[in-house]
C-alpha cells in the first residue's frame, strides 16, 4: 500500500468523532498474522507456566519471584518486542507490542505492573528521547532483562500535578555533573532496578528535566521500605531518596526543561499499554467465573442457569470484547501513523513519538474505559463466586484488589477524562480536527424540523451505525455549546468535562465494537458472529443510556430556557432507537455461548 493511500484512509487522532470509518479500515484481533499468533501463544505459555501456576507467591509479597520471572521474560525476548533491532530488541510493530502487553498481564497485577513499569516508562524515555550514546549504553541491557528500569516522577507534593516536583538538579562546579537531591514516591520496581529515569528541576526552570541515573547506593541513593498496598502485592513499590546524587551531564535526557514533555509522552504510550494490560485480566476472570458458575450447584442447578448470573457473565464478556475492539483499533492506527512518518523521512524515534502523540486522545479514552471495565468485571467475578470470591484462597479476591490501581496510575481516570476532552478541543483550535463545522451543522439540525421517516434498517447494524452517528452529534452539541459558552475557562468546569468525556468514551468503544463485528461478519458470516453481534448491540444499548444521562447532566449545567429545551430535544432525538433491542434476550444469548465454551473465546 502506498503511503498516499494509507494517509487518506487513516484517521487523525480524535477524528473518529466527525468521520465515518469503513469496517475494512480498522484492525481487529482476528487480523493477527501467524507470527503474532505465535507470539501470543508463547506469551500465554509463559504466563501459565511461570505466573498463573504461582499466583499465591505474588500475593505473599514474594518480590524476589517477581524479579526472577521478569528475568525469565527477558530470556524469552518479551521485554524487547518494542525495542529497535539496533539496540538489541525485536523491532516489532506497535500491535505486537500491545499483544504481548495484553497477554502477559492477566495472571497477576504484580507482574504486569513490574513489566509495564520496566518496558514502558522505565525504558521508553531512553528509546524515545535518548541520545545515540545513551541508547547504545543502556537500551540493550534493558531489552534483555540484564538491567531493570524504574521511573521517578511522582513526589509527595507532586502527583497529578507532575510538573510541580521539588527535586533539584544542581550543576557541579567543574560542570561535569549534576547533583540531584529530592524525594520520589510510589516508584515501581525500585527494589530491584538498576536504573532510574529521574525528573528534577534545574534552578528555577519552569519545566523539569529528565535524567538517566544508575542505581548505586554509594552515590546518595537510598530506598524507603516496601509500601503496604491494597493490591499488586509483589510489585516492588518504594520511595527513592536522592541526596546529592552525582549524575554525569551526558546523562541528561533530551534537553534542559524538556522533562515534562518526556514525562507526558511516556505516559501516552503507557496509557494505551495499560489498557492492553487490563484485557487479559478480564478474560481470565471471565474464564474462572464461568467455570465456577457452570459447576456451582444451588437450588439443584448450576448457578449459570440463573438469569441474574447470566446477566453478569454477558456484561463481563461484552466489556472485554468491546475493549479488545477499541484497543487494537487504536494500536494499529498508531502503527500505521508511525509507518507513514518513517516513510516521510522521520527517524523511527520521532515517528514513534509523533505517532503515539497523534492518538493521545484515544490513549486516554482507552485507559479510562478499560481500567473501569476490569474493575467491574473483577467485582462481578467475586459476586459470582459468592462467599468464596471474598476468600483469599480464590483468585477473584486478588484480581479485584490488583485491578484497583489501574484507575489511579498512568494519570488518574479523572485526569485522563479531562485530558481527552481538553486535547480534542485543542486539536480543533489548531485546525487538526474540524469540530467547528460539524458542530455548527448539528446546531442547524437542532433548529430544523426533524425527519419523521424511518430509514431502512434491515441490513446488519444499519440502525446501530446510524445511532453511533447520532451519538457523535450529542458530543458535538454538548462540547460545542460548552466551548462557546466558556471558552478557555471550560477547563475549570470539571464536572461538565467529566460528562463530555464519558460521551466521547462511549462513542469510541461502541463504534469500535460494531466495526469489528461488521468486518468479521463480512468475512466469517453473520451466523458465526451471532454472539459478537449480540455483544455489539448490548454495548451500544448501554452506551446510549450513559450518553443520554451524562448528556442531560451536561446540558442542564450550562444552559437554560429555550436553548436548554432545544438541546434536550436534540439529545432525545439523537439517542432514540426505532427498534428497541431486547437486551434481556441479548444477555441470555451471550451468556449461554460463554457458558457452553466454558469461558471467553472471542479472542481466539
Amino acid at each position: 500500500m502506498s503511503t498516499e493511500t494509507k494517509e487518506k484512509q487513516l484517521l487523525r487522532g480524535g477524528q473518529f468523532l466527525v468521520k465515518q470509518v469503513d469496517c475494512e479500515e480498522i484492525f481487529t484481533l482476528e487480523d493477527l498474522n501467524e507470527e503474532q499468533q505465535m507470539m501470543r501463544e508463547s506469551t500465554k505459555e509463559f504466563v501459565d507456566r511461570e505466573l498463573w501456576a504461582h499466583w499465591e507467591r505474588f500475593e505473599n509479597k514474594d518480590y524476589a519471584y517477581t524479579e526472577e520471572t521478569m528475568r525469565k521474560a527477558g530470556e524469552l525476548g518479551l521485554l524487547s518486542v518494542a525495542i529497535p533491532e539496533a539496540y538489541g530488541g525485536m523491532g516489532m510493530g506497535f500491535v505486537s507490542t500491545m499483544l504481548v502487553c495484553d497477554y502477559i498481564s492477566g495472571a497477576t497485577g504484580s507482574f504486569s505492573t513490574a513489566f509495564g513499569a520496566h518496558t514502558g516508562i522505565g525504558t521508553m524515555p531512553i528509546t524515545l528521547y535518548g541520545s545515540e550514546e545513551q541508547k547504545q549504553k543502556y537500551v540493550p541491557k534493558l531489552a534483555s532483562g540484564e538491567w531493570f528500569g524504574a521511573y521517578c516522577l511522582t513526589e509527595p507534593g507532586a502527583g497529578s500535578d507532575a510538573n510541580s516536583g521539588k527535586t533539584k538538579a544542581v550543576l557541579s562546579e567543574d560542570g561535569k555533573h549534576y547533583l540531584i537531591s529530592g524525594q520520589k514516591m510510589w516508584i515501581s520496581n525500585a527494589g530491584f532496578c538498576n536504573l532510574f529515569i529521574v525528573f528534577a528541576r534545574i534552578g528555577d526552570d519552569k519545566n523539569i528535566t529528565g535524567f538517566i541515573v544508575e542505581n548505586d547506593p554509594s552515590n546518595g541513593i537510598s530506598l524507603g521500605d516496601e509500601e503496604k498496598k491494597l493490591g499488586i502485592h509483589s510489585s516492588s513499590t518504594r520511595q527513592v531518596f536522592f541526596n546529592e546524587t552525582k549524575v554525569p551531564v551526558e546523562n541528561m535526557l533530551s534537553e534542559r526543561g524538556n522533562g515534562f514533555k518526556i514525562a507526558m509522552n511516556a505516559l501516552n504510550v503507557g496509557r494505551i499499554k495499560l489498557a492492553a494490560a487490563c484485557l487479559e485480566a478480564q478474560r481470565r476472570v471471565i474464564n474462572e467465573a464461568t467455570k465456577y458458575a457452570n459447576e456451582r450447584v444451588q437450588f439443584k442447578t448450576p448457578i449459570i442457569n440463573f438469569g441474574a448470573i447470566k446477566a453478569k457473565i454477558a456484561d463481563m464478556a461484552t466489556n472485554a470484547y468491546v475493549d479488545e475492539a477499541a484497543s487494537y483499533r487504536a494500536a494499529k492506527d498508531i502503527e500505521d501513523r508511525i509507518a507513514i512518518r518513517v516513510a516521510e523521512g522521520n527517524t523511527h524515534q520521532e515517528a514513534e513519538l509523533k505517532g503515539v502523540e497523534e492518538y493521545a486522545i484515544e490513549c486516554s479514552i482507552l485507559k479510562v474505559a478499560v481500567s473501569e471495565h476490569v474493575q467491574q468485571t473483577t467485582d462481578e467475578g467475586i459476586q459470582i463466586f459468592g462467599g468464596m470470591g471474598f476468600s483469599a484462597d480464590t483468585p477473584m479476591e486478588s484480581a479485584w484488589r490488583d485491578a484497583r490501581i489501574a484507575r489511579i496510575y498512568e494519570g488518574t481516570n479523572e485526569i485522563n477524562r479531562m485530558l481527552a476532552v481538553g486535547m480534542l478541543v485543542k486539536k480543533a483550535m489548531k485546525g487538526h480536527v474540524d469540530l467547528l463545522g460539524p458542530a455548527t451543522a448539528v446546531g442547524e439540525e437542532l433548529m430544523g424540523i426533524p425527519s419523521f421517516d424511518t430509514p431502512d434498517y434491515s441490513a446488519l447494524f444499519a440502525e446501530e451505525k446510524d445511532l453511533v452517528k447520532r451519538l457523535k452529534k450529542v458530543f458535538l452539541m454538548v462540547a460545542g455549546s460548552a466551548v462557546q459558552k466558556f471558552g478557555p475557562q471550560l477547563e475549570e468546569h470539571q464536572q461538565l468535562l467529566m460528562a463530555a468525556s464519558d460521551i466521547l468514551i462511549q462513542v469510541y468503544l461502541a463504534e469500535s465494537a460494531i466495526l469489528r463485528t461488521e468486518k468479521n461478519a463480512k468475512r466469517f458470516g453473520e451466523e458465526a458472529q451471532a454472539t459478537q453481534i449480540a455483544m455489539s448491540k448490548l454495548y451500544l444499548y448501554r452506551a446510549v443510556d450513559i450518553i443520554a444521562q451524562r448528556g442531560k447532566e451536561a446540558i442542564v449545567s450550562f444552559s437554560e430556557g429555550d436553548e436548554q429545551k432545544m438541546m434536550l430535544m436534540g439529545l432525545k432525538r439523537f439517542t432514540k432507537y426505532a427498534n428497541q433491542p431486547n437486551v434481556v434476550a441479548l444477555r441470555t444469548q451471550i451468556a449461554e455461548r460463554v457458558a457452553a465454551d466454558g469461558g471467553y473465546t472471542f479472542d481466539a
Binding site: 507470527e35 499468533q37 505465535m38 516489532m92
Partner: protein, 248 residues
Amino acid sequence: MKILVCISNVPDTTSKINFTEGDTKFDTNGVQFVINPNDEFGLTRAMWFKEKQGATVHVATVGGAQTEPTIRKALAIGADEAIRINAEPTDGFFVARQLAEVAKNGGYDLIIAGRESIDYNGGMVPGIIATLLDMNFVNTCVSLEIEGTDAKAVREIDGGNETIATSLPLVIGGQKGLVEESDLRIPNMRGIMMARKKALHVVEATDAPTMTADVKFEKPAAKGPVKLVDAGNIDELISLLHNEAKAI
C-alpha cells in the same frame, strides 16, 4: 549428525471432541492444534543434540497448509528446516510411508517420532518407518544418548526400564522421559522472528495405499451422577456394584 523429527498436528489436550458426517469425521471447528506432546519431547531432545553435539535438525509433518503454524512453531523452537508433505493423513501406514520417503531422500542418521499421537493413538508410525528404511528401532524411548554412531537408549517396559545399545541410523518412538515437561521450550520472540526466514519445504505426497478407513467414532458414555448409599443399606450397595458398576 542429521536428525529428522516427525511432527503430528494434534488437537490441544483441552479441546472438546465432537464428530461430524455421521460420526465418521473429527469436527475441527473451534479446535486449536498443537505439536503432538510425544513429538515435542523428541524435538526438545533433538534441540539438545543440536546445541551440545552440533546436530542439524529438520522437522516433517504430513498435512495440509493448515498444519504450517504447528511446524513453524518447531522452527521457532529451533529446528533448522521444515518439510510439509502435502496430503491429508489417513492411516498409520500412509503417514509412515510419506515420512519414510522424505527421510530416505534426506539421509538422516536419527529419526525421532512420538511413540503415538495423542489424537488417534495408532502407535504405528515410528515402527513402520524403521521397517521401510531398514533402520534400527527403539520404541517407548525415555532416554537417548549418542556418541559417534553408537546409541544408548532406554526403553520403558512394564514396571521398569530396559537399556539398549544400538547404533545409527536409528528410529525411535519417543515419549516423556527423553526430556521432562519442565524442559519443554516456549518459542522465544527471536526464534519466532527467525522462523519466518527458515525454509519450509512443501513436497507432494508419494503414492501409498490407504489400508484402513474410519467407519465410526464413539465417545465414552457420559458418567452418571454419584449415587450415595445409606450406610446401613449394604444390600443396595452390593446390588449396585454387581449390577450397575459390574465391579463385583
